[in-house]
Symmetry: C2
Subunit: 347 residues, 2 copies
């Protein structure tokens, strides 16, 4: 869930629309109005990718959940199974937690082919193996034809944060550097490409990947990391806005420094999308003292899934809660949170 924004009251007779699932400000508003109001507790309201619980013996437990509804189920570079494992593994990694185990809850639609389910489970098995995590508990429900969409998967994750790690969206400080582990928008564009009916053909593969080993290696050589966040729904722009708000700082980006694969760039131009708002599933934003940026990038580039790491910006004292971008032509523009839905059912 996301950090504090000013909630706009919801009307009782309002209906859920796709934008409520965008991960942007409509989602924030729904979550703040309904969920935070009802389930008012510190670990939830912290607004990080996993909730944290102190352990009497040292360290903390991290707990997170994600439901996956991506359409189609299979897309270039991945499928809902790999996504379900990686999404939750990454939410644990983003608070510095070592994954202890996952749960998997399946909602199947009557008529789903067993072979499809088998393919998805095989992907989950491989992704779990790659991440070194076990799926410890599961549940299977079936809904009638027309009451679901093939297959939805919820994965919840449990992890352990070693003592001394204090990674949170609220810890960005003026003078920090903002790093990104590679080019943006691959996942969103790959899923779009996989949907029929779009005049779009591309060779873009989803970047969906488990980042826990990369994070663990980074933290062992650069323990001073302040913030980690994976820019999924709502993209880099929304994730950075969350961090800026949680920490009460400004983040200053440089447009020319943000890596975008040429195929993603041309697909975005064609579709009128801004890659800053397109979902990633195998990238991390890293905030740490600028003095450590170069060393961190060197480590990251030596690691799988970190080869394309670069610095994309810096943290400033103000304007608090804002993300600003120096554009390629020398101006400065405000980079806002995604409002409604841009690409529904991307994860």
């Amino acid at each position: 869930m996301q950090g504090p924004v000013c909630p706009v009251p919801l009307r009782h007779d309002e209906q859920i629309v796709l934008g409520h699932g965008s991960g942007g400000s409509m989602t924030h508003n729904l979550v703040r109005n309904l969920f935070y109001a009802a389930f008012d507790n510190a670990p939830l309201l912290a607004g990080d990718d996993s909730a944290l619980l102190d352990l009497p013996a040292g360290g903390r437990l991290a707990l997170t959940t994600d439901s996956h509804i991506v359409a189609p189920l299979f897309f270039p570079g991945g499928d809902i199974g790999r996504l379900a494992v990686c999404g939750t593994v990454n939410d644990l990694a983003m608070v510095g937690a070592r994954p202890l185990g996952l749960t998997a809850g399946f909602i199947l639609e009557e008529g789903l082919l067993i072979a499809t389910l088998q393919g998805v489970i095989e992907s989950m098995r491989l992704a779990a193996e790659e991440a070194g995590i076990r799926i410890l508990a599961g549940d299977t429900k079936v809904v009638e034809r027309g009451k679901g969409d093939g297959l939805f998967i919820n994965t919840s994750g449990l992890g352990w944060v070693p003592p001394g790690r204090e990674i949170s969206g609220k810890n960005a400080q003026p003078g920090d550097a903002v790093l990104l582990t590679g080019p943006i928008g691959d996942h969103g564009i790959a899923v779009l490409t996989a949907r029929g009916g779009l005049a779009l053909e591309s060779d873009v593969l989803s970047d969906v990947a488990p980042l826990n080993r990369l994070v663990e290696a980074l933290l062992s050589s650069e323990p001073e990391v302040h913030v980690l966040r994976d820019p999924t729904r709502g993209g880099v722009a929304t994730a950075l806005n969350e961090i800026a708000r949680q920490s009460g700082v400004a983040i200053q980006l440089d447009e020319t420094g943000i890596p975008v694969n040429p195929c993603v760039e041309s697909a975005c131009e064609l579709l009128g999308l801004d890659p800053l708002y397109v979902a990633n599933e195998g990238k991390a934003l890293i905030v740490l003292p600028e003095a450590r940026a170069e060393a961190a990038i060197k480590v990251l580039r030596s690691l799988r899934y970190g080869e394309g790491s670069v610095q994309i910006g810096v943290v400033r004292a103000g304007p608090a809660g804002r993300v600003l971008m120096r554009t390629a032509i020398g101006g400065t523009r405000l980079v806002d949170t995604l409002a409604g839905e841009m690409l529904p059912r991307i994860c």
Copy 2:
């Protein structure tokens, strides 16, 4: 998930049918063929209501997950929100775990009324308060109209099992007594009643309730409990078959001793249902040494949700894996696991 049964191979071109979600032998078979084969690890394969992880500092962590797809969302005595909290709290309680926190993953269908969602969340809040548990993490996704059914909720739960508690479906022993905390079938019949189109009117309320305080109080005075299980999907018959199989024992029931509310009994007669297979959401089966049965029943009857506790059977050495019932007219019949789907979308 459920304990070992002999899996019948699935064909690749087979399709998912409602019976795969019944909680009975079709569900077992799907789980064994696909999930256990892919995610082969001891805590998962233990087949109890929560997976258990050893803690270095003593005790164990319990992890469980459940997706809730009940239709309709509101029914006499409860709703999907109360069900989602209680179902997962009870899965933790059934391994003797004290709940530490829940996660909640929502899949909303476009067009759902905010007021409906608000009502459900308020129920979750009240149930969590009653159980003394916090909802620590959440996720919200939205699917297009016609790709869901109003609202599905996954809840996953984390709990702590104090050192010394060894409660598992595999621990039933010959000479144990089988207790039940009250009359059966209320939840299933209440949900059926709430569905339009059935020539059925009744005053039956769902028994949906959090059992963690009852279990905690029982265990503090009767620590020798061997097995706890909540007879949800598939009912008491399926839950007892799971225990008989996991422990390699026989369970002998006495038909006249199994409590059924008169309204539930007449609804079951009308619909041709056997209450032994109808879901409960606020009852527990308790297996413990027969010498402790009377004292345990006394404790249970003094507790909320335990007022109707009785002994319903005993554990015998064999025939291993079987549940037998002495019928009201003096014969003995085999009580089998639920096969396919009897009442779809009951939880």
